[in-house]
Symmetry: C2
Subunit: 447 residues, 2 copies
C-alpha cells in the first residue's frame, strides 16, 4: 500500500495534536538499529530511500535513518520512487537470516513525506564514494548523506565530546571568546580584514590571548570554536576556517604538565570515539591508536640529530620520518617534539631556563603529522614586555592582553588541536576538506 501525503507536515496523523513524544522519546517511531530486538512487532520507520534492490522474485527498499539501514519488502506501487525519497513505513519486523542484521520489514504501508526533484551526483548507496573531492564538496548538502562521508563527522563529534569531557573532569571551565579583534597581532600568518561599523577589524586567528587571560580568572579553561587563517596555501592540511580545540591551565611546573594533559585529552578523545562512534570508525575501516601511558618525547635537537638535519623547524618530510620512528621504536602513533627554537615560536613562549635559545614548547605529531602545538607561556609582566621589545614589536596592540599580566598571572601553558586534522589523521583521510562539513579555503566560499 502506498499513500502520498498531502499536508505540509507529512500528515500529523501518527502524532495527534498535543503529543510531544515524537521529538523527545521517539515512542512512535522506531529506528533501523532497533529492529533486531523487535521481531514480531508492528513498527513505524522513517527515513530516506537509500536504495532499491531488485532481486528475481522480490524487490527491497533499503531505508536509511540516523541509526543505519533497514530492509523493507517493497510493496506494489513503489516502483517509481527515486532514491532519497523521504518515507514513513509501517510494517512488521520479521526475522530473515539473509537480510542485513537478520531482520526486514514485511507487509509494509509506505507513505511519501517528500520527493526529491533531482538525483545526487553519484549513488549514495555504493560502499565507496565514486567522485572527486570537488564534486563531493560542491554538492555537500547531498553528498554528506553518503554513510561513509557522514561517518567522518560522527567521529569528529565524538572526538569533541571526549575533549570536553576530559577537561570537564579536571576542573576546566568552558569559555566563548571574541572572533573579531581590533588588531592583527598573533603570529605572522595572514588575517582576514573586516569592516566593523566603519572601523577596521580582523577575524581572530586563535583564542590564544583570551584563553591565557582567562587563566587569571578560572585557572583552567577550554574553548572549542572556529578560528580563521587567511592561508593562501592550497594544501591538503590547511583550511581558512577550522575548529580549534584549545585548552590553557595555570600553576604548571613547565610544559611537561601541559604535555601530560594532552595525553589525558587524547585518551579521552579516543575513548569517546570508541564509545560513541565505534560503528562509524569501523565503517571507515579505521582503527583507534593506543594512547601510551607516557607518549614518547624527543627534544628538537635530538630530532635534528636523528634526522641528520640542521634546520630551525621540522619539514613535513621530517615529521613523517619521526612519526615512523616513534611507531617503530615505541609502538606509538604519537610523538612529542619538545624544545623548538625560540626564534620559530611566538613571543609569548617561555624559554627553556637552561638553554634559552630553545623553548619550553612542543608539537605533537600524530601518525607523522603535526596535530597539536603547545607549551609554557611567559607569565611575568616584565618578561612579556621584554619579549616584545626584543622582537621589535610595539606594545599598543597587546594592551588588553598585557593587562592580565600586570595584575598577576601564574605560570601557565596550554595547547591547541585542529579538529579537522585530527579526524582526518584518525580516519585515514588525506585531505582535511573531507573532515570539515563545508570547508572554506582560498578558492571555496560555498556551499
Amino acid at each position: 500500500m502506498i499513500h502520498h501525503s498531502t499536508t505540509d507536515a507529512g500528515t500529523p496523523a501518527a502524532a495527534p495534536a498535543g503529543t510531544t513524544a515524537g521529538a523527545t522519546a521517539g515512542t512512535a517511531r522506531a529506528l533501523a538499529a532497533e529492529l533486531p530486538g523487535r521481531v514480531g512487532e508492528h513498527v513505524e520507520l522513517a527515513g530516506w530511500l537509500h536504495r532499491r534492490r531488485a532481486l528475481k522474485s522480490v524487490t527491497f527498499l533499503v531505508l536509511r535513518d540516523r541509526s543505519g539501514l533497514a530492509q523493507v519488502v517493497a510493496p506494489a506501487g513503489t516502483a517509481d520512487l527515486p532514491e532519497e525519497t523521504v518515507l514513513r513505513v509501517r510494517g512488521t519486523v520479521t526475522a530473515n537470516h539473509r537480510a542485513p542484521n537478520g531482520v526486514e520489514l514485511t507487509g509494509p504501508a509506505v507513505e511519501v513525506l517528500s520527493r526529491p526533484v533531482a538525483a545526487p551526483p553519484f549513488d549514495l548507496f555504493r560502499p565507496t564514494v565514486p567522485a572527486s573531492l570537488p564534486v563531493v564538496l560542491d554538492h555537500a548538502p547531498v553528498t554528506l548523506r553518503h554513510p561513509r562521508l557522514a561517518a567522518l563527522h560522527r567521529v569528529s563529534a565524538a572526538s569533541v565530546h571526549g575533549f570536553r569531557a576530559a577537561l570537564d573532569a579536571r576542573g576546566f571551565t568552558e569559555i566563548h571568546t571574541p572572533k573579531v579583534v581590533s588588531s592583527a597581532t598573533e603570529s605572522g600568518a595572514e588575517v582576514f580584514a573586516l569592516d566593523w561599523f566603519g572601523r577596521p577589524a580582523y577575524l581572530a586567528q586563535s583564542p590564544q590571548f583570551f584563553k591565557q587571560t582567562m587563566v587569571g580568572v578560572f585557572e583552567r579553561v577550554y574553548e572549542t570554536g572556529p578560528v580563521f587563517r587567511a592561508e593562501p596555501h592550497d594544501t591538503a592540511r590547511h583550511l581558512a576556517q577550522y575548529t580549534s580545540l584549545d585548552a590553557e591551565l595555570g600553576f604548571v611546573a613547565d610544559h611537561r604538565d601541559v604535555m601530560a594533559l594532552v595525553r589525558e585529552v587524547l585518551a579521552g578523545m579516543t575513548g569517546a570515539v570508541a564509545e560513541r562512534a565505534g560503528g562509524a570508525l569501523a565503517a571507515l575501516g579505521a582503527g583507534l591508536p593506543a594512547v601510551p601511558a607516557e607518549i614518547p618525547s624527543l627534544h628538537f635537537t635530538e630530532a635534528m640529530r636523528m634526522l641528520g638535519a640542521d634546520e630551525p623547524d621540522l619539514s613535513p618530510e621530517h615529521e613523517r620520518r619521526l612519526g615512523a620512528w616513534a611507531l617503530r621504536e615505541h609502538g606509538s602513533a604519537f610523538l612529542f617534539v619538545t624544545g623548538y627554537p625560540m626564534r620559530k615560536r611566538p613571543f609569548y613562549t617561555c624559554p627553556d631556563p637552561d638553554r634559552p635559545e630553545y623553548s619550553n614548547s612542543f608539537d605533537l605529531l600524530f601518525r607523522g603529522l603535526e596535530l597539536v602545538t603547545g607549551g609554557q607561556r611567559l607569565h611575568r609582566y616584565e618578561d612579556c614586555l621584554a619579549a616584545l621589545a626584543a622582537r621589535g614589536e610595539p606594545v599598543g596592540p597587546y594592551e588588553g592582553y598585557l593587562r592580565a599580566f600586570a595584575h598577576g598571572m601564574p605560570p601557565h601553558g596550554g595547547f591547541a588541536l585542529g579538529l579537522e586534522r585530527w579526524t582526518a589523521r584518525l580516519t585515514g583521510e588525506e585531505n582535511v576538506r573531507r573532515t570539515a562539513l563545508f570547508p572554506r579555503d582560498v578558492h571555496r566560499l560555498t556551499p
Copy 2:
C-alpha cells in the same frame, strides 16, 4: 617564612622533572574547597592573594583559587604583598570555627610566583562590584576575577553543558558550520562584510541554513557557536557577536515537537546549572526556575487579545506583560507564544495549514523576555521556491541551501537560544554585556 622564587616557572621544586601529576591529578596541590576535609594535614595551596584581613592580633591572607577562598594566617614578611599577588602556600590545615568554612592554614610558608605591577580598578574582594559597566568591561582581563563576575560565566558554562547533554541523550550530532558565507541572505538584519582573498564575503548571522541542511544527513543536529549581527542598536539585550545554541531535528509532526524538545533542553540546562554551578548561582543570589512538565503556550492572536493590542509583533512591553501573566496564572517563568504572523517570520517558516497567514513557529519568553525562537520549516523544494518567489527574493543566493531540498528533506524544525541572554535572565543581570566575557558591540571591539 617567605621565599621569592626566581626561576621563570615559579620554581619547579614541588614538581620534580618528569612528573606530570600536577596538571592532571592535582595530587601535589590542594584546592581551597578541599580543606575542610583535610584538617591536620600539611598541604600546598596556590592562587591569588584575594585580600589581606588585618585584625587586632592577627593578619590573614585570603587566598583565591578556582575552587574558592582559603584563610591563611599571615606569616611575617608578607606585609608588602599587594592583592592579586600569585602565591604558593604550604601549611597545616587547622580547624577554627571563626574561619570561613571552619578551617585555616597555619604555620605557612609563602612563596611568590608572580607580582602584580598595577592595582585593579576596584577591590576584587568586595561582595558587590562597585564600578560602572564600562569600567568592568574596559578592564575585563582583571575585573572578571571578581568572584561575582566569574560566577556568571560558570553558570554560562554549565548551561552549555546541559544543552549539549540533553541533545546528546536524544541522538543529536554536533556540527561545526562556516562562519563566513558568500551572500547576506538570512533575515533583514545587518551583516558584517569581509574581504575573502579579494572576494566579498559576510559573517554568518546564524547557522540556520547549514543546520537545516544537516537534518538531511544526521536528522538531529546542534551547534554551539558564535553568530554575528551588525546591530546598530546599543541596547542591553543585543550584542554584535553572541553564542547561539542551535538545534534542528527531522521527522517532526509540527512545531509542537520542537517546543517539546525546547522544554527538555531547558530542563537539562537548569539541571546542569544546579549540578555544576549551584555555588555560583547561589553567590549571585539567583534561583533556578522550575521548568513545568508542559510549558504554558498562547497563540499569537490570543496574546494580542489578552494584551488588548493588534500589532504584527510583540513589543518588549508586551513580552513583559505576558511573562507576568504566565507567572501569575501558571506559576511558570516560561511561556511559549506560537503562531506569529507569517509576514514577520523568515521565508523558510512553515505556515499553519489551517490558518496560512499564521506560522507554525514560536518564541519562548523567559521571565518576560524573548529567549528562544523556533518553529517548523518548509521542507518541500517547491514550497521553498514558492516562498522565495512570493517575497520577491532571487533564488541564486540560496542555491546551496535549496540543494538539500532538491534531494528530499523530511518535515523538520528547530530553534535557537542566545546564551548570553539566557545567563543574564537566569542570574538577574540586566545587560547581556555582563554575560559575555569580552562583549562586542557597535562601540566595543576591545579588549
